[in-house]
Assembly symmetry: C3
Homo-oligomer: 203 residues x 3
C-alpha cells in the first residue's frame, strides 16, 4: 500500500514541478529560483500535510531522490518552457498532468489524514490542502493572487469531490487501491470537463 502512495507522489511531484518551473521562468528567475519554486510547488502541499499531521520525517526528507529529480528537471527548464509555449499540444499535456497530480495529491492527503484518525470532513479538507497548496505557495512566491482562489475553472472543487469519493469508498469497506483510484478518476474527469467547458462556480 505504501508503494502505491509513493508512486502517486512521484507522478504528482513531476506534474506540479513543471507548473512551478514554467511560472518561475515567466518571472525571469535564474536556475536557483526555478529550482526552489519547482520544489515549493511540488513539495509544498505534502509538506503542509505532514506538518499539520505531525508526520516526520517530511516525505521529501525521507525520499531524497525527489529533490534530485527536480534538480534535473530545473536544468532542463529552458527546453521545457520553450516546448510548452511553442506547442499548444504540450500545454494540454501539462494541464492533463496537473489534473492527474491534483487527484493524486488529494488522494494522498485524504489517505494520510484518514489513517491518522481525523474526522472525515477534516480528512477531505486536508486532501484539498495537499492538492492545492503547492500551487498557492508558488503563486505567493511569484507575487500573484493564488490562481486556485480566483473565479476560474473548477480546481479545488475537483479535489474536494475526489477526496470525498476516497472517503466514501473506504467508508463503504472498499480497499485502499480502489479508493485512491476513485479519487484520482473523479478529480481528473471533473477538472478536464471544467477546463473543456469552462465550468465555474456560480458564486
Amino acid at each position: 500500500m505504501n508503494t502505491l502512495i509513493k508512486t502517486i507522489e512521484v507522478i504528482g511531484i513531476f506534474a506540479f514541478a513543471i507548473s512551478g518551473i514554467i511560472e518561475a521562468r515567466k518571472k525571469g528567475m535564474d536556475i536557483v529560483g526555478i529550482y526552489v519554486v519547482g520544489m515549493v510547488t511540488a513539495f509544498g502541499g505534502g509538506s503542509l500535510r505532514d506538518l499539520v499531521l505531525n508526520r516526520h520525517p517530511l516525505f521529501w526528507v525521507e525520499h531524497y531522490w525527489y529533490p534530485v529529480i527536480l534538480l534535473f528537471l530545473s536544468a532542463l527548464a529552458s527546453a521545457i518552457v520553450r516546448h510548452v509555449t511553442e506547442h499548444t499540444r504540450s500545454m494540454i499535456v501539462v494541464q492533463v498532468l496537473d489534473a492527474l497530480g491534483l487527484g493524486l495529491f488529494a488522494a494522498s492527503g485524504a489517505s494520510v489524514a484518514h489513517q491518522a484518525g481525523t474526522n472525515p470532513f477534516i480528512s477531505s479538507l486536508i486532501g484539498v490542502m495537499t492538492g492545492v497548496f503547492g500551487g498557492v505557495f508558488r503563486d505567493i512566491i511569484c507575487n500573484e493572487i493564488p490562481y486556485v482562489f480566483q473565479r476560474t475553472e473548477l480546481y479545488a472543487t475537483c479535489a474536494f469531490a475526489g477526496a470525498w469519493s476516497y472517503l466514501l469508498v473506504i467508508g463503504a469497506g472498499g480497499d485502499e487501491l480502489t479508493a485512491v483510484m476513485s479519487c484520482i478518476t473523479i478529480t481528473f474527469v471533473l477538472r478536464i470537463l471544467a477546463i473543456r467547458y469552462k465550468i465555474r462556480l456560480p458564486v
Copy 2:
C-alpha cells in the same frame, strides 16, 4: 478551563473569518477562494501557535465543527458583504468583533505558551503572533502588504499589552479566568480607543 479557551476560540474564529471573507470577496474570489481565505484568517494564527509549540492535533483538526461553521459562513458571503458595505453600523460591528477576536486570540496564545513553560517575553510574543498572523496570512494571499504592519491605528500593540496583562495576572497568582478576561478587556479597550481617536505609533 479548557472550556473557556474553546469558547474564546469560537468567537475569535467567527470574527476573523468574517474579515477574511470580506477581503476575499473584494478580490473577486469565488466561494472556494472565500472559504480558504476565511479559514486561513481564522485558523492561521492558532495553527502557527500550535506548530511552534508542537501541540498536536492542531486545534481545527481536533474540533472539526470549526471548519464546518466556516463553510456555512462562506456560503452566506454575498449577503454578509452586501450588509456590511451598505450599513456603516455593520462595519462597526465587524471592527468590534475583530477587536474582541484579537483579544481572545492573544489570550489563547499567551495561555498556551505559558502552560508550555516558555519564558514570559516569548509567551507574550506568541500571544501577539496568535492574534495577528491570521490577518497577515490573509493579506499575503490577497497580495497586499499586511495591514497590521502599516502605519495605522494600533493593532499588534493592543495584543501585546493584552498578552502582558494576562501574564502579570497569572504571575501575581490570579486564576486563568481573571487573566484571560483581563487580556481581552485591555486589548479590546485599547483597540477601540485607537480606532476612535486614530492613535498611531509615533515611529
Copy 3:
C-alpha cells in the same frame, strides 16, 4: 560544540535582522511592523529548519534573549537606516554582515540536518533553506518577488557550495569546528566575489 552553533546564530540573527529592518522601513512600516519583519527575516530560516526536522522548542523560543535583542535593534531602526543610506561604507558593512550570516546559517542548517541523520543532499538543501528563507519570508511580507530567486548576484548558490563544504569536511572525518568554519569561509568568499564582480548564473 553547541556553544559554537549558538554564537553562529547570534551573529547571523543580527545581520539578517538589519536587512529586514531596512526593508520594512523602506515600506513605511511602524515600529511593530519593523520588529516583526526583522524577526521573520532573522528567525524565519531557522524556524523552518526546526519545523522540518521536528526540533522543539524552536531556537528563538529556547533562547528568549534573541527576540529581546531584536526589540532594541528595532527601536534604533531610524538611526540604522539613516546611517546606512547616507554612508556607502555602511551599506557595504551590511552586505558583509549579510554574507557572513548566510554562511553561518547555511552551516547551522547543514549541521542540524546532518546530526538528525538526513541524507547529504537533503542536508545541503536544508542548509540553503536555513540561509535563504528568512529573506524569502521578508520579501513575501513586503510584497516583493524574493530577491534571492531573481537573476542577480549569486546568493543561494554560495550557501549551497558552503553547505557542501561542511558536509565534505565532516565526511572526510574533520571535526565540527573545521567544517563550520569551512562552510562560512566558502559561502562568504563566493558571495563577496559575486557582489564585487557582478557574477550571475548563466541561466
